[in-house]
Amino acid sequence: MVNIKINDKHITVKEGTTILEAALQNKIDIPHLCYDKRLVPYGSCRLCIVEVEGQAKLLAACSTPVTPGMSVRTETPKLLKARKTVLELLLVHHPLDCPVCDKAGECKLQDLAFKYGPAESRFKAKRKHEPADTGSPLVERDSNRCVLCGKCVRVCGELQGVGAINIIGRGFESKISPAFDEKLNCEFCGQCIDACPVGALGRRHFRHSARAWFLEPRDNVCPYCSVGCTVTYDLREGKIMRARGVEGKGINNGNLCSKGRFGFDYIYSEKRLASPLIKKNGEFRRVSWEEALKHIAGRIQAIKHAHGADSIGAIGSPRCTVEDNFMLQKFMKSVNSSNNIDSSARFGYAKIQEAVQMSFGLNRLPINHESPLGKDVILVVESDIASTHPVWGLNFLKAKKEGSNLVVADTRETKLTRHSSRWLRVKPGTGVALLNCIIKIALDEGLYDKAKTQKIEGFSFLSETVNDYPPSAVSRITGISEDILVKTAREFLTAKSRLITLTIGASENTKGLDTALAAANLVILTGENPSSLQMPAEFCNTFGLWEAGVKPELGGKNAVSMLYKPGAVKALFVMGENPVITFPDSKTVEEALRSLDFLVVQDIMMTHTAKLANVVLPASCWSEKEGTFINAGGIPQQVNHIVNSFGNSLADWQILKNLSKVMGAEIAIDDIKKLREEFKNNKSVEQPAKLTFNPVTYTAVGEYDTEFPLKMITGNLMQHSGALSCMSKGLGSVIADAFIQVNPADAQRYKIRDNGFVELSSIKGSVMMKAQVSDEVPEGTVFAPVHFSHARINHLTSLSETGSPPICAVKIKAAN
């Protein structure tokens, strides 16, 4: 701690604190414009100048660290005068177009001018007249309003790791611009917009749509991934106009990705469902809630009569709240006496949960937003964290910047591989072999925690199993040289602290249960806690869905047994899910759904699955109802009801509660409070950890025949999440169309043009889409983002019922 004086007030602050931080912490105001807590001090606006005793020069408070005994003055006549001049200079240079500037009312320059500014200017002078950039998606730039505080440049480069914009030119002509004055081509996270203190950067879709003082801010949890960022939504007349991150709020501390910042508008999609529909003679007919529920009750009861309770099944949703999902499982288990309930997590998160149970004996893996920070070595296994969990991804970049050795094993070039200390460009789906190889080296070289681990169940089996994975063999499997394998392993094993990270999302096909088990084996062997393995849940409420009990227990059927065998169930409830598009091998799923006696779909829009249903129920979506999301770290967060629900839609839990009542069930739930209480009482208790080694072997995923010579990786794009984000016009303005990424060499071989149409086929079927020729994928591999329902990429994919990754073999040809 350091003692200093500011304006004669004695203050104690931590070493390394800057004068400005010290002042702000102690409620002493020093005007500032270019300072941002998240960024390295920059010192460009010069508004924060202060006098320090014994120093002839004035110092910028934001970039001067305190020193013991320092005595600072913030308001001397000399300072006030110089500060006023600086502000005056900013103002004369700034266009006076506040009446047409979206920032008016929340502009830092306006505020400062009001508080400190001169009444009139001593200068009449030239301003800039640059054309504004209004042609880029989502982000608009008007450099005439720019005060060159450099925040956007620094946020983009330092924090976001993109570096899409910089200051170009010198002197008065300096300005912010993408390289070579081109249009913006970046992540479109919008972080720069929120950082900009003036109206130089703005949201394209918000332009001229509301004055700041008419906006009503309401906080909510982001509806996309499991990071669970807090977003501040600004409403006008009950409609969300824009979303922003606010420093100091939420786990994200003001950071947001493009989904969180621009993706909220899906709730205003014209595809929303307004009233219940019943299908008659192949046509949907609008009906009242009463009629719909009565109809459903009758049909369910009849089917139960004829085929027994086990013929009823349900699919829950990671996009719905804990309350919705809890009510669904209650509806199944206690109203219908059926344990047939599952979700898309079957193809993703369930594998993580299984591995966590088997390896650590735990119900929940402790996931922490800060976990990457301060780790010596971070090993990311075939996972594109910066796309699936963008704001968490920022902490990986930060860790790297602060000195962590970030090793990323991935076939594809991603943001994370670009920022890695070492990129292991492994062949797809070979993570298990890589991890086994590290285990083998640990055992051979004695680089593991002998005392702790030799007695753990499965140890000798593990050492036997990994004998097949010496660097020489694994080099052949992964394509990484022996040297690098050994070097990486040693760095990992001898590090003081380490982290392994991987995601298993429903749409990701390069990892399976085995990958998770192999990673767990390695973590246990090094004597680390389970928290050294970070395998987060996928969507905003994947974790909550699991906690709510949307999983087959006590012999219930899971998604695979319900949806891939026609006749396995007779009636199915689908809540907020679109299996026909998002589940693997979707043709088989479609057949199963078509063969049902009765299908009920409750959703926010008319999905491909809903089209097959007998009854479709309109659900309110996030922000139109109250509820809870539990994020990857297990933190329950309140979802707020901030806008009116659309049409006649109702919250999913309410629909199910009403239906239960119509069916005559005795349930004591009339409001959400009761539901929550019951959920709390039902929650499983964490058991003590029990460590077990579960040795796994690498199965060569298709040493493919000549017919399907390419491996197809499926995965995520940074600006999308599941299929939900495709309903957002904002996000759609960045990428709206499906594509398949093909390496230039393959493109040449198969005569494929960039942007040309191709036919892509697997053993399961074939689809058409555009090709994107790019060396982000290596030769022999293609990559397909899974978000775009019209592309039907899951017509090609398969289930994996063993623990190996469900990689898909395909062939490609140009379509004419």
């Binding site: 001090p41 920059y42 010192g43 460009s44 606006c45 010069r46 508004l47 100048i49 020069k57 004035l58 910028a60 970039s63 001067t64 660290p65 000399k78 005068k81 110089a82 500060r83 001049t85 600086v86 200079l89 900013l90 004369v92 240079h93 001593r122 200068f123 002078a125 030239k126 005060v147 060159l148 450099g150 910089n166 200051i167 030119g169 010198r170 002197g171 008065f172 002509e173 300096s174």
Partner: protein, 598 residues
């Protein structure tokens, strides 16, 4: 060409011909002169191997106004020719070399000798005398002795020696070099770096370029000494890409030094490793500022950062780094070989050694000079510089380039050292000296420098980016006759606030030329604003275009030059300009040989 009849060549026992081939020399055609000497000597049958020895390529010798300079040293007796072109060579060979009769009218005059006599040469001593592309030439005059001398010493002993010499940084601020090294040597972090700052961005400055072109090994040796002292194994020379010859010679020098084992691994079996890389800068003035320079080497946009942390603690790639100017470094070999005491005996109490200046502007002998610290301005301007061109009245001198200020004639007895210059509102800077006479408009001069700094401002901080622009706008309107009451006060206020609040040295010093000219020549500003007159008749918009009957010699040149028939003139009559017809194009003004048009 048929071989000429061999005249007596037996009298030529020892012939050395030195031709100035610095950038100035090369521009003036020294390569052609060298070639011509080659051809001529060959045609007289003087053998080729003698030829090679004869024609040394020497670095800059400072007397740029008289390029190409050629020394002919015949049997130990040296004569220097000035303003030599290839056409002159035949006669020199014929009369001087063959007959032993120097061509008197081409020899340098007394001003050449005066130019040299008041100077004390440490850095420039060998420039122009040794072949900069031959490491042996440097070794023969005692080069790399200093490197041999330091290795048996502890690093702190080397630092102590430098500290005792009193050497201060020649790059601008005049920070004690020994102290800077000491801080860096004690700073935590590895590896450490030493950077030679050869950005030299001041307009008109070419001291650093000349030192590198003339004696590159002295800079390299200085870097090795510095590297050893602070514990750095890597050095960078940050040099502007517009200096291709300096870069070329530096590359040769580094390669040769590596071959000879002065740089590389385990230098002279001392266990000390040191290597040097060249980093070419794009020539932005701001990249000479040390934190911007570091950013530029790191591949970022050259923009300064707030200090602290100082580079000595956190510099290149966040590691302890010493940045020294070319001239600072080139002083080190002599300090080590001749000792701190010797160095400290030159100069004043607080400013030791010599300083190289680039003398330019309205002065007779323009060029590079090296003088002991503490010499008076008068000696520089009159004894070395020979006074103003055309014997006009000396008015002021601008030191420190665009960051410095101007010193008026009334201060002519002032000693030239760090403190005195600072006290007068100027600074040492890197060593530019622009001399002004009564034909210089001080407002225009201030505008010139401010235009430079405004264009070169990195754009990062508000006062510098916008403030200098606003000052420039005010200056411009004053020079256009649109100045207003209160403009001077506005310039003073704004200038002081910019100095106070800017982030880096550029902004903190950018107003200096304006502030110092207001301080010493306020009447000129006032004349512009209140009377609409530019006393030096430089500002076009303020010229009255009247003919001074006193000065007019009735030559009629103005009459012929005027495109608008505004001048009436008859033989033996002074010219008269008709204001109603005058379009203020300035043609007559340029044409008048007697400055009679006001």
């Amino acid at each position: 060409m048929p071989a000429k009849k061999p005249t007596k060549t037996s009298g030529i026992k020892d012939l050395v011909i030195r031709v100035c081939v610095g950038t100035g020399g090369l521009a003036a055609g020294s390569q052609e002169v060298i070639d011509e000497f080659g051809r001529q000597l060959k045609s007289y049958g003087i053998k080729a191997d003698i030829l090679k020895k004869c024609v040394n390529k020497t670095g800059c010798r400072g007397f740029c106004a008289k390029d190409v300079l050629v020394d002919v040293i015949l049997n130990g007796k040296s004569e220097t020719y000035q303003l030599i072109t290839p056409e002159n060579v035949a006669r020199i060979v014929e009369e001087h070399i063959l007959k032993g009769e120097p061509v008197k009218e081409w020899l340098v005059g007394p001003e050449y000798h005066a130019f040299h006599d008041k100077q004390t040469k440490i850095l420039l001593k060998e420039c122009g005398h040794i072949d900069p592309e031959d490491i042996n030439a440097y070794i023969n005059i005692g080069g790399y002795e200093a490197v041999r001398k330091i290795f048996p010493l502890e690093t702190f002993e080397v630092i102590e020696e430098v500290r005792a010499s009193g050497l201060r940084g020649r790059g601008g601020a005049g920070f004690l070099t020994g102290l800077k090294w000491d801080l860096c040597s004690k700073a935590e972090g590895k590896p450490k770096y030493i950077i030679c700052n050869a950005d030299e961005g001041d307009p008109g400055a070419f001291m650093d370029r000349s030192v590198i072109e003339g004696n590159p090994h002295s800079v390299i040796e200085g870097m090795i000494i510095g590297g050893y002292a602070i514990g750095a194994n890597y050095g960078y020379v940050y040099i502007r890409a517009e200096y291709p010859l300096a870069i070329h010679r530096l590359k040769i020098a580094i390669a040769d030094a590596r071959k000879k084992g002065f740089i590389g691994k385990n230098i002279l079996k001392s266990g000390f490793d040191f290597d040097i890389k060249i980093k070419e800068g794009a020539g932005a003035f701001i990249c000479g500022e040390e934190t911007a320079l570091i950013a530029s080497i790191e591949g970022k946009r050259g923009m300064p950062k707030a200090k602290p942390p100082f580079p000595a603690y956190k510099g290149l790639w966040g590691k302890p780094t010493v940045i020294n100017n070319v001239e600072t470094l080139a002083n080190l070999p002599s300090i080590i070989t001749k000792g701190a005491k010797w160095f400290a005996s030159i100069g004043t109490e607080k400013s030791k050694g010599t300083k190289v200046f680039a003398l330019t502007g309205k002065i007779k002998n323009t060029g590079l000079i090296e003088v002991p610290m503490g010499i008076s301005l008068k000696e520089i301007i009159y004894d070395i510089g020979g006074g103003c061109e055309r014997n006009r009245k000396f008015k002021a001198v601008q030191t420190g380039g665009p960051s410095g200020g101007c010193i008026p004639a009334s201060h002519i007895d002032m000693p030239v050292d760090y403190e005195s210059l600072m006290g007068a509102g100027s600074m040492m800077g890197s060593g530019g000296m622009v001399v002004m006479d009564d034909t210089t408009c001080m407002v225009d001069m201030a505008k010139f420098f401010l235009t430079f700094t405004q264009n070169e401002s990195c754009g990062k901080c508000t006062p510098c980016r916008i403030g200098t622009k606003r000052m420039l706008e005010i200056l411009t309107r004053i020079t256009e006759g649109k100045g207003k009451e209160g403009d001077i006060e506005l310039l003073l206020e704004l200038g002081n606030d910019i100095k106070l609040s800017s982030l880096c040295g550029l902004g903190m010093s950018a107003p200096n030329p304006v502030l110092s000219t207001i301080k010493f020549f306020r009447d000129e500003y006032e004349a512009h604003i209140k009377e609409g007159v530019c006393p030096a008749t430089v500002c076009k918009a303020l010229r009255r275009y009247t003919v001074s009957a006193e000065l007019c010699k009735m030559c009629g040149k103005c009459f012929k030059a005027c495109p608008s028939a505004a001048v009436t003139w008859e033989k033996k009559q002074p010219a008269v300009i008709d204001k109603t017809k005058c379009i203020k194009c300035g043609a007559c003004y340029e044409a008048c040989p007697f400055s009679a048009i006001l």
